[in-house]
């Protein structure tokens, strides 16, 4: 109605999200359903042939297209007993609330800092945050040579008390075993495979 347009009610609408963006419609369970219906009718003979691979390619593509708007939550999937689901969700919520703060020291710095490892999704983010916090550059990481082209090397103390190079183990494993971080000066870090 013209009346509404003049008032521009939309502008004053309370909504999540940045101003100027429009929230897309969420497609829940329906997304998966339409996926299934669209599967072509396979003939036994055609299985394994080119047609088959094309068709499954289409399915995969459709999967991606449909799955991207929202992580569709299918009822009763994955098939895990509700009791178990509730237990794990509870634990997850508790763990998330707690955060995972570890001390970070840097050689030469007068005092330590503390960061919440849970906040980062992976090594690149963590390293960027450390670099910004302490104003240094870590250089390029490679499995063989460690951190190349830098005076400083990020290391961490693991559960066994050993000092390890940040980046060697999968992120999740790192989260579980990291007790504290230390940004070592390159000269000291020679033993950790750093090529300076």
């Amino acid at each position: 109605m013209a009346f509404d347009k003049e008032l521009n009610l939309e502008a004053t609408e309370l909504r999540l999200g940045l101003p100027g963006t429009k929230e897309s419609e969420k497609q829940p369970t329906i997304a998966i359903k339409s996926n299934k219906r669209a599967l072509p009718n396979f003939n036994e003979e055609s299985c394994g042939s080119k047609e088959n691979s094309n068709a499954s390619h289409l399915i995969q593509k459709r999967d991606q297209e449909i799955a991207s708007p929202a992580k569709a939550q299918v009822v009763g999937w994955p098939p895990v007993r509700s009791y178990r689901k509730n237990c794990l969700q509870l634990k997850k919520m508790e763990a998330e609330a707690a955060g995972m703060y570890v001390k970070v020291s840097m050689d030469g710095a007068p005092y330590l800092r503390k960061i919440d490892l849970k906040v980062y999704k992976g090594y690149p983010e963590l390293l960027k945050a450390l670099e910004e916090m302490f104003k240094f550059s870590a250089g390029e990481y490679s499995e063989r040579e460690g951190y190349n082209g830098s005076e400083f090397v990020p290391t961490y103390e693991d559960k066994d008390g050993d000092w390890m190079l940040v980046g060697d183990v999968p992120w999740d494993m790192f989260l579980c075993s990291c007790k504290r971080l230390r940004i070592m000066k390159g000269s000291e870090a020679k033993g950790l495979g750093c090529a300076v």
């Binding site: 998966i32 359903k33 996926n35 299934k36 219906r37 599967l39 072509p40 009718n41 396979f42 036994e44 299985c47 394994g48 088959n52 691979s53 499954s56 390619h57 399915i59 995969q60 999967d63 992580k71 939550q73 299918v74 009822v75 009763g76 999937w77 994955p78 098939p79 895990v80 007993r81 509700s82 009791y83 178990r84 689901k85 237990c87 794990l88 969700q89 634990k91 997850k92 763990a95 693991d158 559960k159 066994d160 999968p170 992120w171 999740d172 494993m173 579980c176 075993s177």
Partner: protein, 571 residues
């Protein structure tokens, strides 16, 4: 055979233990039927609505142990509405009014009220063993009645039930004269426990072999308990958190050294990984380890623990063990028979936890593996083919790829060939759960090769009615079929209606069957209950073409059940 007196027959039948064998014995002739039923002590009822308590009591007057299952399996995953049914009350009422001296009751997926528990405890004088798995409807008040009134109680085993916790006083209801406990499992209770009462109970139970604690039991109490019960064979810890430098922890380390009989370990519902070394000494003798609720143990701690468990036969863990961790299992646990890997992130298809690589490693390292439940991010045909070759002895193979309809990520093909290899190689396969992208072809293979298959679970699979028909035609021993989100319609449902009387039950949800199709089936097969679950009033009585969202059918001797709620229509 007529020349043998009944006692001789009975004596011979004593050696026939399994339910199936005894059922077969009872079909030979009237004489055998009579002798068998009069001497039968243990009965298993897979579907509580297949018969009535009265029929059971009339046939087996010597009944001592009864196992009952209620709701369909998919009720575990919230697919069956609350109040669907599965009440144990009529059974307990009938038993209490009879002369049956029931001693053991094992229930799965049933609704158990406090009233039922109280009635049970007061009317069955010789009651010894109560096992409740995935049940609901009762509170600690009911447990208090069991504790207080069952004078010869040996076993109280509560597994994964939803119990309303009103107070921890039920434990104090065990009288001082109760010294017969052999097994006590209250791990699923959420509330506080009277710790002193627990310690006293353990102290006066010299026959205690199995004890599983809940989260409310701290490490100090565990220490005290193990001091009094070093003879334990099965232990489930509660909250396993303490300062590893403390006196209590030190004491625990020494106490555990005396517990040389522990073979099953579980729990760690809360855990401080730095306290794990205390249990290292018992790891070597463990045959069963359940860390599937121990979200706090992962990475190197988990691997360190597993490396010490060379004799493991059964392992339940979370997928945060990763493929690398599974490689450690494969190289350490050569006696492994059963493996369950549960998803730690149940909300979604997150970061890669375990993949086909972990499973391949396990199959290569653990030749005795016969039971598998594996939740993974992805699977390939090539991997399944290798697994089938390495482990031809699978009895149970349940694979759940977390993302529905996900194909082989390497070839982008459906997983028909992979599962086909499994059914072809594993000639003793009795239970199979499928997942991933699947066409009708996988069902062709299943129908052709899975001759011993008794239970099949299918989700988001197949292209046409042919899929379901291959299975119904081919799997002669099929007892339970559960299907969700597959394109099977009336043609598949109605082609071989006689088949359903040879099965326990069929579940179909989000498929293409119509109201008309279900009605036709119900009409042709009066000895089946064909139930439609009409949630949210979706369905109208008139139109036959409308799709049925949830259908559950089962064979029964007693016709439509009288306790069905409004939303369940028995056609």
């Amino acid at each position: 055979m007529n020349y043998f007196p009944d006692e001789v027959l009975e004596h011979v039948f004593d050696f026939v233990a399994s339910h199936r064998d005894r059922n077969a014995v009872s079909l030979v002739c009237r004489l055998w039927h009579r002798v068998e039923r009069l001497s039968r002590q243990r009965v298993f009822v897979g579907n509580c609505y297949a018969l009535s308590p009265e029929i059971l009591i009339a046939r087996f007057p010597g009944l001592k142990s009864l196992t009952l299952k209620g709701k369909p399996h998919f009720a575990d995953f919230n697919l069956v509405p609350h109040d669907w049914g599965g009440y144990v009350q009529p059974w307990i009422e009938a038993l209490s009014n009879s002369r049956i001296g029931l001693e053991e009751l094992r229930l799965k997926r049933m609704v158990v009220s406090d009233e039922s528990l109280e009635l049970l405890s007061r009317s069955l004088a010789n009651f010894k063993s109560l096992v409740l798995v995935s049940c609901e409807g009762f509170t600690t008040v009911g447990l208090a009645a069991i504790a207080a009134n069952c004078r010869f109680l040996r076993e109280l085993d509560l597994q994964e039930n939803e119990i309303d916790d009103h107070s921890g006083h039920w434990l104090s209801c065990f009288p001082d004269s109760c010294t017969s406990l052999i097994s006590l499992n209250f791990a699923c209770l959420k509330g506080e426990i009277n710790l002193a009462a627990l310690e006293r109970l353990v102290a006066r139970s010299p026959n205690l072999r199995s004890l599983r604690l809940n989260r409310a039991v701290p490490l100090e109490t565990l220490q005290n308990i193990l001091m009094r019960a070093p003879q334990l064979v099965d232990l489930g810890t509660g909250s396993y958190i303490h300062d590893p430098d403390s006196e209590t922890y030190n004491k625990l380390k020494h106490t555990i050294l005396k517990c040389k009989s522990i073979r099953n370990l579980s729990g760690f519902l809360e855990v401080a990984p730095r306290c794990l070394p205390a249990i290292y000494p018992i790891c070597l003798n463990l045959t069963s380890l359940n860390l599937s609720y121990a979200a706090g143990i992962h990475g190197s701690e988990l691997v360190k623990l597993i490396r010490r468990c060379a004799k493991l036969q059964r392992l339940w863990i979370l997928d945060c063990i990763g493929d690398k961790g599974l490689e450690v299992v494969a190289s350490t646990c050569k006696e492994l028979q059963e493996l369950r890997v549960f998803p730690s992130d149940v909300l979604g298809v997150g970061h890669a936890a375990v993949t086909e690589n972990g499973l391949v490693a396990i199959s290569a390292g653990c030749p005795k593996l016969h039971s598998l439940l594996y939740f993974c991010q992805q699977m390939t045909n090539a991997a399944l083919i290798v697994v089938a070759k390495n482990c031809p002895n699978f009895i149970r193979f349940r694979l759940c790829i977390l993302e529905p309809t996900k194909p082989d990520p390497v070839t982008m093909q459906p997983l028909d060939d992979g599962f086909g290899a499994i059914v072809q190689s594993c000639k003793h396969l009795r239970r199979l759960s499928l997942s991933g992208l699947l066409t009708d072809r996988v069902f062709l293979y299943i129908g052709m090769y899975a001759e011993q298959l008794e239970m099949l679970s299918v989700a988001f699979a197949g292209d046409s009615d042919k899929g379901m028909l291959y299975v119904l035609n081919g799997c002669k021993k099929l007892r339970k079929l559960e299907i969700r989100d597959c394109p099977y319609g009336d043609k598949a449902l109605l082609t071989d209606v006689g088949k359903y009387e040879t099965m326990r039950s069929l579940w179909m949800s989000s498929c293409e069957v119509t109201l008309g199709g279900c009605k036709t089936l119900a009409k042709e097969m009066p000895r089946l209950n064909v139930e439609i679950i009409n949630e949210h009033d979706q369905m109208e009585i008139g139109s036959e073409e409308q799709r049925v969202e949830k259908m559950y059918l089962y064979r029964t001797l007693v016709g439509p059940r009288k306790d069905a709620p409004e939303f369940v229509w028995t056609l």
